[in-house]
Symmetry: C2
Subunit: 387 residues, 2 copies
């Protein structure tokens, strides 16, 4: 199939790898970070500004787009890329995480998940097959299967039971995906021929459950695999451990996607454990709240000590925000509740994340990743700093 | 003085004129429209996006910037241009309009206006001299004098009494302006040498009061003159009348600034009456609320009929929004309450206003302004239309 999904490993340094994912809408250099555009828009950042950050792939959310404006409406418009005006690669999550965040508004059965819309309380059912159909209509380059996302902490028994359901769902999702690939199915528009489908490894913090999940998903056979169920409140050290023993269980020749992670130092640590693909709302969500990332760690631009600070957020940063504006001006914009405060800080944070990944790729290319990692940690502190 | 204020008339067609204003921060082709960046930022539009719209001059607000972050803080940062990261020409209003909008929180005397901050209730006094000092510190290229803005409707007697006070204030403002120009004054930083000061013609709807005001201000002598006290709720026809008889009372060889106007057709009509400079919040305020301007008039993007409309707001418009996005997507963004909805619509509206002014200048240059005006009105309707 022309322009279909492929992955080429281009380098490695320890467990860290560089590679190139090709998709129907273009290529992505890995390790890569995906900005989150839940409703087909990164909050406060226009598509044009997003392209200027250097983002190569954008994530959107099946649950939100299914409810509004609807996958049928988007398919009629030619699919997500045309609808939102983003011509590069896209990935949609399955909506599982959002549904299971609805708490008492969701009921799970073997068939799927029945839930009430957070918008109007209307009843909906997501089955593994239905989610494949919705994503076929939305037309991202990469679609994620529906999985059950357990509330943490869960017992080992509950985790195992949930994992088994998730694996049965994965098989059904794959069957449906192949059915759509085989030829036209009434009522489903395939917006992006060549779409790839990723399975999601679950199993909580239990090594044998993660191993079982990884093995079973590979037996089903997906274009690639993600690690789910992390960054949901567990200690960072536990997350690193689980990533550390799960990533090597996944195929060498496929990109490994760690869902929903994380802080910049998490990205460095998880690349060190073999992860190739990340997404996270932190650069934009925290940016809207005044938190800006620097090589020394985050700073809070609302702080009074920035009122007379003529420096940019980060000296030498090439972004629109740092080239044009001081911390003093950004603080003023936050104080005055100007929308551009969140926009400008989000743009910088995205550039910070994307540039960190670029430096990671360069370091791996030069076989210097371990030096990069140590140097990064020597500077970067998670707690807001005073410089 | 190098780079000081100047105006060159470059063409005329009936009462309509083209010209070029030069300022310490560059030139402006007139007739010109100034986007409003009240707090040193156009709401939802970054400076970089604003430059892309083709805006040549930006308006900011003395009242808001004086209260927060303060003119002293801005002067320490090198003035408004450096503080906000806008290197082109700027104009600040005097704060009069904002103060007199405070209603019961303002007390007027011969000395000036005593008011309570809308932010924290603290007491402040704006005298004509103080407002000159504040604007010297802010450092726009053009500063407006403090005037009394009467609530409409006012009796002729009240208007005349208010006008006399405004004229005494204008003389005091000019005296202070010349004092600052003559040499250093303790406690006042002059952020932009070569700043120009505009007087404001008041007098309500009364021809003889407007004439008296225009004459008295020219006797004082300012770099140029504005028409104030309009677009405050009077019928459009009355506004056109007042502009029509007031503009010719102002010097031919100076730019004439009509404050706070208006809808696109108002701009056309007021250019026809000899106006050179406009400012208005409509393109951005209405843009944030979903109203987009087209050559046929405004449309409301929240309307359900745009849900499946794949056309841009305006066919052939070169702006980021029209080049990249459909009405269907913009409607989705408004429905989903995404910040970029307001940003993208504001950007288009600013481009619509600025392009209208550009077409006006071209028409005047070709001696075809009357044809342009008729054609504009044939298409443009103020009431939201259905196409």
């Amino acid at each position: 199939m022309p322009g279909a999904f492929a992955f080429t490993l281009t380098g490695r340094d320890g467990q860290a790898r560089t590679g190139r994912i090709t998709t129907p809408h273009g290529a992505i250099e890995t390790p890569a970070f995906m900005p989150v555009g839940t409703r087909g828009a990164v909050r406060g950042v226009t598509q044009r500004a997003l392209r200027a950050t250097g983002a190569e792939i954008l994530l959107a959310n099946t649950y939100h787009l299914y409810l509004r404006p609807g996958d049928a409406l988007i398919a009629e418009r030619g699919g997500l890329h045309r609808f939102i005006g983003w011509s590069g690669p896209m990935l949609t999550d399955s909506g599982g995480y959002q549904i299971f965040s609805l708490g008492p508004m969701v009921r799970i059965s073997e068939e799927g998940a029945r839930f009430r819309s957070h918008l109007d309380g209307s009843l909906h059912t997501f089955t593994p097959e239905r989610v494949v159909d919705i994503q076929a209509q939305l037309g991202p380059d990469i679609a994620m299967v529906l999985d059950e996302c357990l509330a943490a902490p869960a017992t080992e028994e509950a985790t195992a039971r949930s994992l088994d359901l998730t694996l049965r769902w994965a098989q059904r999702a794959r069957n449906r995906f192949l059915e759509l690939q085989a030829g036209p199915v009434a009522g489903v528009i395939v917006s992006t021929p060549g779409q790839a489908q990723f399975g999601i490894v679950q199993g909580g913090v239990h090594r044998h459950l993660r191993a079982h999940s990884a093995e079973a998903l590979q037996a089903i056979g997906f274009e690639s695999y993600a690690i789910g169920g992390l960054s949901v409140g567990e200690p960072v050290a536990v997350m690193y451990d689980v990533v550390g023993f799960t990533a090597p269980l996944l195929p060498e020749d496929r990109p490994r996607y760690l869902m929903g992670t994380g802080m910049p130092d998490d990205l460095v640590e998880c690349v060190a454990r073999g992860i190739d693909l990340f997404d996270c709302v932190l650069p934009t969500r925290n940016g809207r709240n005044g938190q800006a990332f620097t090589p020394d760690g985050p700073i809070n631009l609302r702080n009074a000590r920035f009122a007379r600070d003529d420096r940019p957020i980060e000296e030498g940063c090439p972004c629109e925000t740092c080239q044009g504006h001081s911390r003093a001006y950004l603080r003023h914009l936050f104080q005055a509740q100007e929308m551009t405060a969140g926009t400008l800080t989000s743009v910088h944070n995205l550039v910070f994340y994307l540039d960190t990944l670029k430096r990671i790729r360069q370091a791996i290319g030069f076989g210097m990743f371990e030096q990069f990692r140590l140097k990064f940690h020597r500077h970067f502190s998670r707690t807001p700093h005073a410089s």
